[in-house]
Structures are given as structure tokens and as C-alpha cells.
Symmetry: C2
Amino acid sequence: MTAISPTRQEDFPNWYQEVVLPLAGHGAVRGTQVIKPWGYGAWELLQNGLNDEIKRKGAQNFYAPLFVGMDALQSEAKHIDGFAKECAVVTHSRLKEENGQLVPDGELTEPVIVRPTSEAIIGPLAKDWIHSYRDLPMKLNQWANVVRWEMRTRLFLRSTEFLWQEGHTFHCSATEANAFSLEMQACYQVFLKDQLALPSIAGEKSELERFSGADHTYTLELLMQDGKALQGCTSHDLGQNFSKAYDISYSDENNQLVHAHGTSWGLTTRMIGAIVMVHGDDDGLVLPPKVSPTQIVILPINPKNDPKVTEAVQEFKAALDGLSFDQKPLRVMIDERDYLRGGAKAWEWVKKGVPIRIEIGPKDLDKSQFCLSRRDQAYGQKQFLPLDQVMQIPELLEDIHHTMYQRAQDFMNDNTFVVDNKEALMDHFSSGNSGFVTVFYAGSAEDEQLLGDHQASIRCLTQSETEGLCVFSGNATNTIAWIAKAY
Amino acid sequence: MTAISPTRQEDFPNWYQEVVLPLAGHGAVRGTQVIKPWGYGAWELLQNGLNDEIKRKGAQNFYAPLFVGMDALQSEAKHIDGFAKECAVVTHSRLKEENGQLVPDGELTEPVIVRPTSEAIIGPLAKDWIHSYRDLPMKLNQWANVVRWEMRTRLFLRSTEFLWQEGHTFHCSATEANAFSLEMQACYQVFLKDQLALPSIAGEKSELERFSGADHTYTLELLMQDGKALQGCTSHDLGQNFSKAYDISYSDENNQLVHAHGTSWGLTTRMIGAIVMVHGDDDGLVLPPKVSPTQIVILPINPKNDPKVTEAVQEFKAALDGLSFDQKPLRVMIDERDYLRGGAKAWEWVKKGVPIRIEIGPKDLDKSQFCLSRRDQAYGQKQFLPLDQVMQIPELLEDIHHTMYQRAQDFMNDNTFVVDNKEALMDHFSSGNSGFVTVFYAGSAEDEQLLGDHQASIRCLTQSETEGLCVFSGNATNTIAWIAKAY
């Protein structure tokens, strides 16, 4: 029945651990997470919305297996340098009892790993499915769980298992593949803005930060309230790298065999963590209306069990049920629990981040009004509205969405610092500041390494219309580097 | 451009392997399967429909981890006798390169297994989440992948990894839990009938066939066209078995600690296999209209590239796009590929099982007609309908659904044999017959074992209104056993 302790200011990591609790918890096996109904409800809404966008891009959903064999991994061994080494390795196919203990049995001739990503699974399939230029472009997508064995885990941000969608496409030409990977990056950026109220910077990863199998990695970078950046979605132009590793080729219009050009792109449950860290406040979660499992909760104030109140509340809900927002019916519930005090109930919904709370009691009915609290406003701030203004609620949800987006956008602007020399750049981070620092950049891997000494890194590169001098090399360039500490 | 070879009559298992190909294929790792876009499209439609039903039952979706620890498994060790021993055991957390080969590294102190089902994962969570009778009933559901290491695999029917939904509920009383498990069985039966056109027998498993952690296992049993039974969905009344193993208890209205009563229930991708084996014919798949990713394919006949035909086809599709079936817009596509001959195109859609094919050519337009072929009728059987009868197509889909259901129901009736003595029962199976045999039954585990000698088993038990004599013990009983060879 109180705000979150510690506050964001006092201790952001521990604030996060507290505030995220209505959404998720830790599984019994180290590093795993449980997505609770409230969190999964948000993910399902996100999923439905994004699934529609992905289908509009012409991709078809399918499902590839969970396990990758060693031979398929060997084929892409040169790409395996990065994350893929930390993975769950299955070496046995049964358990047996030995002195009352369960122990592994049935050793596999070849161990298999649980997919950390599916390029090595989809490669051999695409080889079978693609024959002619007429089979291209082939656009596939799957919603799946993946596993990367992480040492230090944090709910949604870094966990041994997470959920995502991974798209994989194959094209005839390099131009088409590159254009499609950029199209998906743009699709994600609009989706984050329109559905999750999340502003982002769309750029390209530097060579050091690029996915090891990609020619280009396009990324969305988000800024959290502690001033650290979080990588949002990525979209990779894979060139012919995987096509060559798995011999994915097609016969072109002149009957010549050519390796296909690939892309892959993904969005993960990490975005739920971004929602928490961008929008949350010291009272708890603040969910964007479009992905809040309940958008409006009605809290009847009815200590005397007055049937007039019960009836008015039911009528009010029925009126809401007839309205829609974002082309879907409103998601409304009445919290009828009579064993909790009004304050305790209200705080529960505050912490869960429900966009709108409505209180209706006998005094309100006398005045033909209801009392409305917006989660994007401070606790205690209330509006009393005439009962017939129920029709305005979809517009309020729209306004909450825009207010949340604008607030996050303002925060990002206020925490983006333009710097024109290397000393100021390094000083920024070495003196404990955060946020994005942008600089003109035509530097080298060694320069990037230097940033690492200050726990900062190039989050992405964008192109400026004007030219400037690289803060490292002094060379003229149009490239801007967005530098930050990051999750 | 031909029918399936072999036919069902010639060789049912190999017919199955051929006919299933548009839906799925084998993964590179032994025993795994790839669900192709056409098959996943059907699964997604099934999923959306069933998800709505499950939510109507008050269950909330959530997501529990993929991995189970050994300690959690030990707690239910007495229930582990069955399938749970064949599982994927993860013993290492990374790969390293050794002489150019990738080998397991980072041995785990405690191995973990990939979930074969999630009772042992959800048990400890429910223990944390349930405190008071006010938290009950708690109804959870997840859509997930599970792994059971199978030696002999067959696409959709038996594979190392499969997809399913698993529901888990907790109740205050034994009566309520039992009633809910029966409610879910009924829900599945209606769903199979209404959405997949699949008739089924709803009964209870015998002690021998029951899920080892359940007090009662309720099942739906289906009959395939080769006369073998396939277990459809199951719904378990778990009593207090898992609640005691994981100490899931609540304080009741008198503040007494009581163990909760549980249920679990699931439907898997196996149902796609059932669709194939119940409805398929010697020309290929026959998909029930409600789960066919495309319901109507339009095949323009336009060798001279007559713009009049192109236009008429577009108009026809636009008219279809405005219609709906089962409260959803029709799923229509035009197959415009001009590099395939008409016959080859038509056969491709026949094999994919699309419910309705429509041909429109210049001659049809002269007569203001279109040519319609129903997949539930023999190849070559066509109707020529006036163009303005496009409005009738949703009704035709409904009729196809009912025809498919009725045909399957008739097949099941024609292949259900009532027998009143043990010799006739044994003779039936020992002389190579299949189908269901029903008998009055009050027998013992030894009697069931006898059936096993003839590759038959009790698929389920139902209650008759009249009494009869058990074919084994001779005792009077109301119980009917449905006996069959089974997948």
C-alpha cells in the first residue's frame, strides 16, 4: 500500500527488481524466468499487433525445431564466435534412478544444443525449399523460445530463456535483401512508437557490435530512465554469408545457380523490460494503453452494499464494453473484491500500471459523476466527470499514449549531448554521466576500444546531412556515432 | 500431377508420409520436425479458436520456463515412472573448440531437463502464488513446446519436440476439480467437432492407461481411416497428488491449511495428424474449412492474357473478400502463377486440401458462370454456377464442414463392433480386424494385459444406461470398454 522502494533515483537496479514483479518472476532453475499472466497478457497483445505487421510484410509463420546438431553449427563455425558458445548442451536422452537419485542416461552419439537463434536450423531447410528464382523472395517468421546460457540474469533484460519472433528471408539480389532489412527496421520503429509509446534511434551497428554473420546490423536503440541505452530490435542484412555456409542457391532466369541473399530480424520479450524502464515511475509500472491487459479498472465504492451503486457500476461497464480503442473493444474490469480496502485495491492497480482507474460511489451518483485517475499522472490527481462522458474514455487512452511517448521522447532529447572533441566525450562518461553522446565519427576499432574503458560503447551510427570532423581521427565525415553506457 | 502413391488401402503408413508433406517435414536432428507455413497456418487457426475457448473457461495465459531441475523432478519421483524418463538432459552450458571441433564445456553441477510436461515446473510456482481460498480457483494455461525423446517418430503423431497448450488449474474442493476436468474434456470435444470436423468418443482411461499423477484421466478417442484409434486431448483430475508433492496449500475460510485440488489438460499438434488421417483421401489432404489457411483458391484460366478475365477474377475475389464464414472474413487467394499449367496448379491445391477451388476462364465469362470444385467431392466433379451466386460460398463451406464430419462419424459407426464375449473380442483382433470393439467391462489389469497380446488396448471407459455382463469376469456392470489397436 505504498510506492516502490527504493525509488529510481535511489537505486535504479533494485527499483527495477521491485517494479517488474507483477509481470514476471524467477524460475527454479537458475537464470530462467516465469512470465506471469499480467506480463504474458502484455506480451500477447504486443505479439498480436506485431504478427499482423509481419504478415503485411509478406512473411509466413512456420515452426523450426528447438535443437541444432553439431554438424550444422560447424558449417557456420566462423560465425559462432559471439554469443552462440554460451548455450544449453543436451548430451543424454533419458534419466534413470540410481540409489534413489535421478541421473542422466542414454548418452547421445552427437550432443545437440538448444537454439540460441535459428540460422543454423533454417539454413539447411531453406537449401531444400529454394530451387528457382520463382521461389524468391521467401519470407519466414517464427515465434519461439531461445536459450543463451547467461551468468548474470535480470528479468526480461537478460535471461537464460526468452521469447521472441525471428524472421528469416531469402532474396534474389543484394539490393533487395538490404532494402528488406531496412524495411523491417522501419517497421519495428513505427511499431514501438505506435504500440508501446517507445521512442528510438534507428541506426547501424559498428563493425565491433555487428552480428558476426551479418554484413549490416540495423538496430533500434532506446534510452532508459537511468540514462543507459538498451538495444531494441535488430535487423540483419546477412548478405550471402549463411547462403554460402549452407549452400542455399537458386537457378536464376538464365538457369545459373546463384547463392541467395538473406536477412534475419527479431524482437524479444526484452521489450517488456524496456516498457518498464522507460515508462515506470516510483509508484510502479505504467503500461502503454495498447498493451495493457486491462485498460480500465472500475473500483466500486460501496461500503453499504447499495444496489444502486452496483447497478450504476454495471451500467458504466456495459457502456465501456460498447466502446473501442485502436480498433479493438476496450478491455475493462470491475474489481469487486470486498475483502480489501479501497486504498489497497487502488494501489494494486497503480503498481500494475493500468492506464485508467475509475471510482464510483454513492456520493458520485448523487452528483451523476465518476472519478477518474490517469496512471500517467501523479497519484492522487483525479478528475470528476459527468457520467455521460464515458464516451470520452477512448480519447483519454489515446492521450495517455501520446503523453507517455512525448515524455519519453523529451527525456531522450534532454539526455542526448552533442560533443565535438574526444576529451569532452571521455570526460562525460568518466565523470559518471549517462545518456547518449553524439559525435562525428570516422574512427577505428581501437577508438571504440577506448570507449570500452569508460564502460561506454557505440550504440549505433547514423548519417548526418551536414559534414563534421571525427572526434578521433579528425577526418571529415557525415557519420554520427551514438555513444552510451548500455544494458 | 497425380494422386498420392501408395493409396490408403495399399499402405496406410506410407500414404500418411506422402500426404502430410505439404504440412511438415523432418528436422536435421533425429526425431525433430519442421512445421511448414501451410501446416503452421492450420495450427495457428486451431490455436486462435481454442485460445478463445480456454479464456472463456476463465484461464489466463502465462509462460513457465523450459527447464526443470532435478530437485523438482525428485519431488514427483513416484509419478515419473511413465514418459518422463525419456527426455532431453542438459548437462553443459557452453561449447568450446577443440582441434577444430565443437565440444561440450562448462559442466553443470546439477543437470536440468527440457520439460516433457510442466507439472514439476508449475508446482513450485503455484506453491508461491496460492495462499488463501480467495486465490482459488486459479486457472493457468500456456502454449509451449515440450520434448520427449522418442525412438520411433512420425510427423505430428510422435516427435521428439511438439507444440501444445497445457492448462493447469487449482481448486478448493475435489468436486470442483473433478467437475472442471470434465468441463475441459467437453470443451475439447465440442471444439474438435465444430472446428476440425472430428468426431470422438469421450471416456475415462483405465487404471493402466491413466496419467501416473492423476486420479482420473479423461480422454477423447478418435478413429483413423486405417481403423486404429488415436488419443486426442486428455484432461486429468490430479486430485491432491501434485499439491502434496509440491506443498501447494491454501488457508480455508476457517484459517485451516488445506492442499489444493489440481487439474491439467492439453491439446497438441498431434491433432493436425488426426485431421490428416481422418479426412485425407487418395488425392491428398482434405482440410476442414475452419482451419484451412486458404479456404478458396481461384485459378484463372487465361492463356491469351485477356484483361476481361483478369478483371472478372479480381472482381470475384473482391466479392469473396467481403463475405465471412464462422464470423471471420473468408481466406481467399488467386493463384496467378503463369509458368505452371492449369492441371499442375489444380493438383497442387488438391494435395494441400483447400476446401474450394474456383476456375474462371473466357468461356465461363461468356456464360456468366464460374466453375467450382469441392475438395470433399471426387476430383473432376464440378459445378458451374452463375457468377452472382458467389454469395452462396460461405454456405458451401459450412456444408463441406458438415459433410466431412458426417463422413467421419459414419466411418466410426461402421467400424464400431459390439461384442458380448471374450472369444469374439480376441478373435476380432487376432484375425487382423481393426476399429473399435465395445464390450461390457468389469475386468482386471490382467485382462487388459491379455488384450495387449493382440496389440489392442482399452482406449477408454464409458457408462451405459443399461447393465450387461463383463466379457472377462462375467460380473454385471454399466461400464463399456472401447477397445482398439492404437497409435
